[in-house]
Symmetry: C2
Subunit: 240 residues, 2 copies
């Protein structure tokens, strides 16, 4: 299809322990789809140096973009910036541009820019800052890796800062046919349709409602006319 | 810590496109934590043969258990069973035990066990069936990989079938201290605490409430007395 590809790395012990339910993955997935960037893989790992370095290295080699969430706050368990710098052999220290942003932010509220908060101004050499209109402390882009906060309101604001700077592809168009029959009853039609429309992706997502079985059939593709033809044929076959 | 380790593979285009928000990962994470099994990594991938085989191979080699969700229904895009069989070089065909379960289920409702539904009786040789009290079609365990459905009610029922058969470890004990100060203010205390209690995991999760900043400090460990000592010290230092 030629669209740019992406992967996501969700970083945080609290996700893997079940304490916190991640919402950033679902948000990013929807935004990338609208922007014509294909999210191919997501990995969720703990705040562990070896795991972060291995994850970001593997994903950045195999995708056009990698988005990370989590681990860039002021506390001792925030080690993402260090790991990304190590993964790319980049020098990491407090950078004047990031320090100025934090200084201005904390001056306004009369809060001290102490040593812990200054950790959030540690940005790898060569990285571009990602604007954070919520709580000031910036994210950054190093090579093809976009490093963002884990707090959902901040993550979402950072995605809004980054996405317009990336070249998108053709947004995938989709149509959904809601069928009140069990998957097993329409599977034959779907597999014949998939064979005849190999340029489209045809998914079937079952549900139960008031004790009856149904399925949402989703037909996706870059060419809206082809999607139309496929959905029309299926609707006719199923007498919808 | 010596607890068994686990990874999860979430399979499905609809998750990566943002159409569906996965809930199985969060459910499994909580259940594994209660059972003393450490979830170390989660990967979310599409219904793609190469991605599924690579994912399950990598994760099964490096963890005691792998749990998969998605792709075991009756339609053409349900290819998980085929991929797991290929990954382990196991023969895959309709198995009599699985067919009998489906036959009994569909006989009860007067539904035909057609070719599509029979796909759900395709189980690799050597695999143990996982009971599905919701919709009959079984999951299976092959080697250290537990293959389960993506529909949350079915996934959750299968987890309940499998977990009691697995040896758990010591459940991680945790205590949470809610602190109504910014992370940046308590970061120094936390990092000193983490240094003195290297056997514990100390996480800090910021939040905003009514415009004020706060943080939940979570102290985790296998030894409840040590967790107590650490939390008591921190509470004293922060005048709580």
């Amino acid at each position: 299809m030629g669209n740019p590809t992406a992967a996501m790395l969700v970083i945080g012990d609290e996700i893997l322990s079940g304490r916190t339910r991640d919402s950033n993955m679902h948000f990013l997935a929807g935004e990338l789809t609208k922007h014509g960037i294909d999210l191919r893989e997501v990995r969720m790992i703990s705040d562990d140096e070896v795991a972060i370095i291995a994850g970001v290295t593997a994903l950045s080699e195999t995708h056009d973009h990698v988005f990370t969430s989590g681990g860039i706050g002021p506390t001792h368990d925030d080690i993402t910036a260090d790991c990304i710098a190590k993964a790319f052999g980049a020098h990491l220290d407090v950078r004047d541009d990031a320090r100025a942003i934090l200084q201005a932010h904390y001056d306004k509220s009369g809060t001290e820019l102490n040593e812990a908060r200054l950790r959030m101004a540690r940005i790898p050499d060569g990285a571009a800052l990602i604007d954070n209109p919520v709580s000031a402390a910036p994210g950054f882009t190093l090579k093809n890796v976009h490093v963002m906060a884990g707090v959902p309101s901040v993550f979402e604001a950072m995605v809004a800062s980054v996405l317009p700077t990336l070249t998108g592809g053709s947004p995938l168009l989709s149509q959904t046919l809601r069928v009140m029959r069990g998957e097993g009853e329409i599977a034959g039609n779907l597999s014949a349709l998939a064979a005849d429309f190999s340029d489209l992706s045809i998914g079937c997502y079952p549900f139960q409602k008031d004790g009856a079985f149904g399925a949402n059939v989703v037909v996706r593709g870059a060419d809206g006319a082809r999607v139309d033809v496929a959905v029309t044929r299926l609707a006719r076959e199923l007498d919808l």
